[in-house]
Amino acid sequence: MIDPLFLEGIIKVLFVFVLISAGLIISTRNLSSALTTYTIQSFLLAAVSFLLYLIDGKGQLLLLACLTLASKVILIPYFVSRIEEKIKIGRDLHFAYLEPTPSLLLSIGLILLSYTFLSRVFEGLPLSKLFFFGAVIGLSLTLMGMLVMFSRKKVVTKALGYLSMENGVLMFGLFVTELPFIIEVLIILDLIILVLLTTILAVGMDSSIEEYRQKFRELQIWTGVESR
């Protein structure tokens, strides 16, 4: 049995890395590095979930860790990397409303805001410091994901923002509300569908069905569908 205090220390370190990864997703211009950052972020989340399992011993948390690992670290990044390969766009250079530096400054503000907000909301509730921080990180991760969604132009990046936002929800759920497991599963299914949809949209939202097939053929996405 490992000392819970030690585990909590590790979780706190992981929190810091999660925040850094969120900042990176906001500011990076390189699509593949954004994807890598997201993969790392998801992995960190899986690790947090696993460590919590070690502290609490709830089987649910272990399952969640495995699920996150399978879907968000392996499956979704695989899909997205395929999209990135096919559409042959390596970088997302354009920003709407906010450039990376102001975005980072704003996200500091967001973290502070969620901190003060949650400290007021949880005032008087028997919540340990670790769980409180988890909630703060979760909320700020959600808001930062949203920030990515409106400040980036490319659909792929937007999808990454949405995924990272969902990571925030997962984080918040882990520490505060204890989302029922089934809901977590459903959310992950949704995410996979979202990514599949994004594949379609990113390839040719502006095309007619005929052009669409053409593009699919050219990019060799889902060749099975197009084989007939």
Binding site: A96, Y97, L113, T116, F117, L143, M146, M149, F150, K153
Partner: protein, 643 residues
């Protein structure tokens, strides 16, 4: 028993609305107008019986929503206005049987028939409404059905503009009514019309919003501008209903609240009289300058509404001063004038419809000589003009006489400042009367007398029978209501000191007859019929006649401060910097004071605000996510108690 009459009338009007929507044929339309005629006869019986016996019928309420009843209430006030509806509708229905056939398409004819019935029904239900919710529902149906009627010929750009203008104004009216009703509801917690016991400051908001709401609909200056736009666009039979009845329904609404809900204050009376006098004066002054027959009649309606509101204001002042009998006299004057105006204005609009139909134009300058080509219409038109100019023994004279009587006794008011105010209002009232007489001398003279001023007028033919019988009904009522005004008032339960116009009428008739006989007997040689001496020019030409603008020129000179002109430059350029002149024109035209200073600035402000708001919806996903983001942040800040 009495209730059955009302139910019968409602049923007749509903079937009159539904029938033309189901079957498209001339007979259906005839039946439908027959049904509205039938309903007006039933209503006549109902209102007459109620006014005579004073026994109020009881309508069992129907509960259609929890806490909201469908209640109908009929008391003496509503009976008076039901009488008004029942007096105007027969003429309009008979007239419409033929008039509606001139509409362009078969569907249009049926729609116009159905909507006319619906419009009458809605106006009836507003008068019968037993609480504010019912009132508002039927008020809206009334507004919308009349809007659709105004838009009946929606292909022309001018009509579309008129319809839009009317739509906006009628919605402003309803918005103010909503504010008034809600503020009353907040005070009492009930939607019924019942007397209130609240301090004057609490009632100021409901009163003012109701005054503006009803004032917009009634066409009080400065909210009157929709009338001169909507009336020329609407079919004449609808103009007759709108001007004759709908404006009075607004007056009814105002009176309903003033009499059975509020306890009036002195400043209310001063406000009402001021608005009324201004409307009367401005209405007639603008009418004098007008060259479009229907627009002229619309301005004249504004004048008459002003007179009615002056009477209501007098009632309030006398009531507050404790002079009950005088208050009653002014109220009787206002109500009777409303009734009279309904009669002669519908008559005039119907005649105007016939004239416009026969000549194909609305321009007064193009008429003339109709007395020879359309003698029957001219006779009816003359009765209307005489009545509205308030010449004895017609009903117009009787109604205004009541108000003059009330005004003349205003020395009974103790406050000297108030007396001065009332005398001032009296003088403006008298001026209005004189100008109205001049206005209708002009309208009748230029339209019907002398030589035709245009080919269309020369070739005009008398209209078909229904279009003559229709206006004949209000024309007969105008004379009868004048002659029997004393009897009518006492029948309605108003025992006021009032000269018997029947006697006066007989006396006048006798004098005229005697004069005629004397002149006839003194005549030395038989009358020689020839053309007027034309200063030696062999044949008289139409352009030698008094023109419409020429006739009103002296009055225009007197009031030239009111008819301000404006110089308008319009220029187009080849380039953006506006240096290469393409073409343009400069015109001097009448300043549309109310429109340009009162209506357009707020409209512009709303427009630019809406443009700003709609620019938020830019079709970009990024912006929408940004809005969601900002909303979340605001939510966090608000729920976190940071504000």
């Amino acid at each position: 028993m009495l209730e059955a009459l009302v139910y019968g009338a409602i049923a007749a009007l509903i079937s009159g609305t539904v029938l033309p929507l189901l079957y498209r044929s001339k007979n259906t339309r005839k039946t439908s107008f027959g049904l509205s005629l039938l309903s007006s006869i039933l209503l006549l019986g109902f209102a007459g019986a109620l006014l005579y016996t004073g026994k109020e019928p009881v309508f069992p309420p129907i509960r259609y929503l929890p806490g909201l009843d469908f209640t109908l209430v009929a008391d003496r006030l509503s009976a008076g206005f039901i009488l008004l509806i029942a007096a105007v509708v027969p003429g309009v229905s008979i007239y419409s049987v033929e008039y509606v056939e001139h509409a362009k398409s078969e569907a249009g004819k049926n729609l116009q028939t159905a909507l006319t019935n619906l419009f009458i029904l809605a106006m009836l239900m507003v008068v019968l409404a037993g609480n504010m919710v019912i009132f508002l529902i039927f008020w809206e149906i009334m507004s919308l059905s009349s809007l659709l009627l105004v838009l009946h010929d929606y292909s022309s750009e001018e009509n579309k503009k008129a319809g839009f203008f009317y739509f906006v104004m009628t919605n402003i009216s309803t918005a103010f009514l909503f504010v008034g009703f809600i503020s009353l509801f907040r005070l009492t917690g009930s939607a019924d019309f019942g007397p209130l016991e609240y301090s004057a400051s609490e009632l100021a908001l409901p009163f003012l919003s109701l005054f503006i709401g009803f004032g917009v609909k009634a066409g009080l200056v400065p909210f009157h501008k929709w009338l001169p736009y909507a009336h020329p666009a609407a079919p004449s039979s609808v103009s007759a209903l709108m001007s004759g009845v709908m404006l009075k329904v607004a007056v009814y609404g105002f009176l309903r609240f003033l009499l059975s809900v509020f306890t009036p204050e002195l400043w209310w009376g001063v406000l009402i009289i001021t608005a009324g006098s201004l409307s009367a004066l401005f209405g007639v002054i603008y009418a004098l300058k007008e060259n479009d027959i229907k627009r002229l009649l619309a301005y004249s309606s504004i004048e008459n509404i002003g007179i009615i509101f002056t009477g209501i204001g007098l009632y309030v002042i006398f009531k507050v001063e404790g002079l009950e009998s005088l208050a009653l006299l002014s109220l009787a004057g206002a109500c009777f004038h409303a009734f009279n105006h309904a009669l002669f204005k519908s008559l005039l609009f119907l005649c105007a419809g016939s004239i416009v139909h026969a000549t194909g134009t609305r321009k007064i300058e193009a008429f003339g000589g109709l007395v020879k080509t359309m003698p029957a219409t001219t006779a009816l038109f003359m009765i209307g003009s005489v009545s509205i100019a308030a010449l004895p023994p017609t009903n117009g004279f009787a109604g205004e006489l009541l108000l003059y009587q009330a005004f003349f006794q205003s020395f009974a008011v103790t406050d000297p400042l108030l007396t001065v105010f009332l005398i001032t209002a009296l003088s403006s009232f008298a001026l209005t009367g004189a100008l109205a007489a001049a206005l209708f001398v002009k309208l009748f003279g230029i339209t019907c007398l002398a030589l035709p001023r245009s080919e269309k007028s020369r070739l005009a033919e008398e209209v078909q029978k229904p279009m003559l019988i229709g206006p004949a009904v209000p024309a007969a009522l105008c004379i009868l209501a004048g002659l029997f005004s004393k009897q009518l008032l006492s029948f309605a339960g108003w025992e006021i000191e009032f000269p018997d116009l029947l006697l006066l009428g007989l006396l006048l008739g006798l004098i005229y007859a005697a004069l005629f006989l004397i002149i006839r007997s003194k005549e030395t040689s038989p009358a020689r019929i020839s053309e007027t001496w034309g200063c030696g020019i062999p044949t008289l030409a139409p352009h030698m006649e008094y023109s419409s603008a020429g006739f009103s020129e002296p009055l225009v000179m007197i009031f030239k401060n009111i008819y301000r002109t404006k110089i308008v430059h319009k220029a187009e350029y080849h380039d953006k910097q506006e240096s290469l002149f393409k073409n343009g024109n400069v015109e001097i035209r009448l300043l549309r004071f109310f429109e340009e200073y009162l209506y357009i600035p707020p409209a512009r402000a709303i427009e630019s605000f809406s443009k700003y708001v709609s620019s938020l919806q830019n079709g970009k996903l990024d912006s929408y996510i940004l809005y969601a983001f900002l909303a979340v942040i605001v939510l966090i800040i608000a729920t976190g108690g940071f504000v």
